[in-house]
Amino acid sequence: MNYAKAMKSCAIALGAAAMATVAMAEDGPIKVGVILPMSGGSAYVGEGIFTGVELAVKQVNEAGGVLGRPLEILLRDEQLRPDVSTAAMRELITLEGVQHFIGPATSATSLANSQIAREEKVVNISPSAKTEALTAGENLHDYIFQLAPTTDVDGVRTVEVLKGIGTESICFTGFDYAYTHDWFAAVRANMGDIREAGAFLVPMNATDFSATITQLLSADCDTVIGTQFGGSFIAFIKQATPFGLFDSKTVLWGSNTGDHAVAAALGAELPAGLWASAADVWYYEGLESHAAYQEALADFQGRKETDMWPITGYNAVKFLAAAIDTAGTTDPTEVAAALDGLTIQTPLGEITIDPETNRANSPEFYGRFEPQDGSNAARMTDLRLVR
């Protein structure tokens, strides 16, 4: 039996005096467990999401908190290891009494933590994991909510963009792991008469892509889509550019490589004409709410050109706060119920969590990188916010 529930039934049984004690206990801040990669090669993702979490919590608390109580963040490093991320979650549940979680960031850790969430009946909002498996089949349960568009959604959206570009034949490349396989499967399922001219995968942790680049160059396709991310994406770009890959093929990349952080890191080395996607870009000007968010974020981070990850953490907190507000209690079962079908206003417009699938219809940006006058970092043009 759940600890909080036990407390509650106790309270009811013991009457008013006990109720007062519980009320006292519930006056404190609402603890939010945040489990993200904070060390190693993916730390920038964790730090980005965490920035968004901090900003949203600051805003919520400044506006008087939720149910009159402030939110309190408890951060743990998942180290991209499921054993570590689950241990952190259990620690927060059993030691700190946390009942609401945001994170972890990756598919493997999210899948693992979701099992704990199911068992412990605590709310678990996954801000960034894209794997279908997280909320599909047996893995779907009442307490897990997936905000990022899944690979299936990405597949549909990618094909839409490809058709817009005029792609006729396509090559696939990327790390040989779950996300790549899932996304490619979704693209293949939707690509209709676009012809596949080969898939050239590299082992996980590979640092050299020259063999695949050579294969891609000689393959009979007009478009290449790929999945390397973070540092590996940067390495791929730097190795592929002198080979002329970006001159001879149209290239579209997944894995949120439209992130401004990537463009800033690569600077002039980011090839013009590369298609990419991102959960957010600071220079998007289509929505008032987005402008307001960016202003707040720029203020918070002390720089105008912000990255894409904060919005995922930001929206996760806003969903959680709205759900607790709607439920009128922090009881995780009721909060989870409130999240079903919940619609909130986000910087990128209305987002709803589907009550059946527990997935949010978060939009993403797709666009084509072009160098900017007066700035070192390229920006996506032809920017479209795909819902």
């Binding site: 060390s39 499921p82 620690e91 899948l111 099992q115």
Partner: protein
Amino acid sequence: MTNRSQLAFLALLFLILLAVPFMGSRYLTELTVQVMIFSLLALSLNILVGHIGLVSFGHAAFFAIGGYATAFFLSRWQLPLGIAMPMAVLLASIFALMIGALCVRLKAIYFAMLTLAFSMLVWGIIIKWKPVTGGDDGFVGIALPQFLSSPQNFYWFTLAVVSISTALMWVLSKSTMGQIFVAIRENETRANFLGVNVRQMQLIGFVLAALFAAVAGSLMSMYLRGMYPQSAFWTQSGHIVISVLLGGVHSFVGPILGASLLYLLEVTIHQYTQYWPLVMGLILIIVVLVLPEGLIGLFRKLYTSVRRE
């Protein structure tokens, strides 16, 4: 430490462990479960490092095989725990027999590196053999027997398994076999000229070490409700080696101290700062420079100074 003081320590530890679930903190109970499992894992490696004198950098492979096999037998084949766990341990031991037979032909650093290569091979297979292992997402969601789903019961189960394993390893370390193991560590050639088939004994030790590592892996997969490829990665093996070295290899209880301290430090530093690797690293450097015999050296020093007074 003498045998008697080590036994006293183990007995005291056991009594404390008996009391843990009654302290009313579920956090403490679950934390102790993990500490027990890591201690068992470190103890198992010490059969190789401390007794026989072989440092394996691939010990995590057997931890992972034990864990994955348990997960698979419980969830896919729906076998009862009483069959699934022994089968998983047996499977890991068979792997150890095959891998060990090749590894014990090598010495010192080359032995270490060959074990590392094999464990990375195991890791690669885990990543790629998706239908069985779940691939890089891991084996998620283990059909745990009903009686183990409560934290309390899981604690008692773990305590029982770890205690029995520890007792067996203690008996082993004091047995005629254990004496021969240490003789091999001390002087391989001399042991050989006493009629000991050194490689065969090393192989036996390798399999025994793997067997207990698989027990630890089996417990861990059930505790985690899943098993993940990182558990076979070389960093995990390195982690076990470090727990053993931190505690001290020349005593039975050293690895228990090392594994417990390492894990508790990781968990607690983690709660206070995101710069936990830095703090861990500095602590390790201090231990290396000040307590070269590991924590057991500290205990020994304290023990002697207390006795002197």
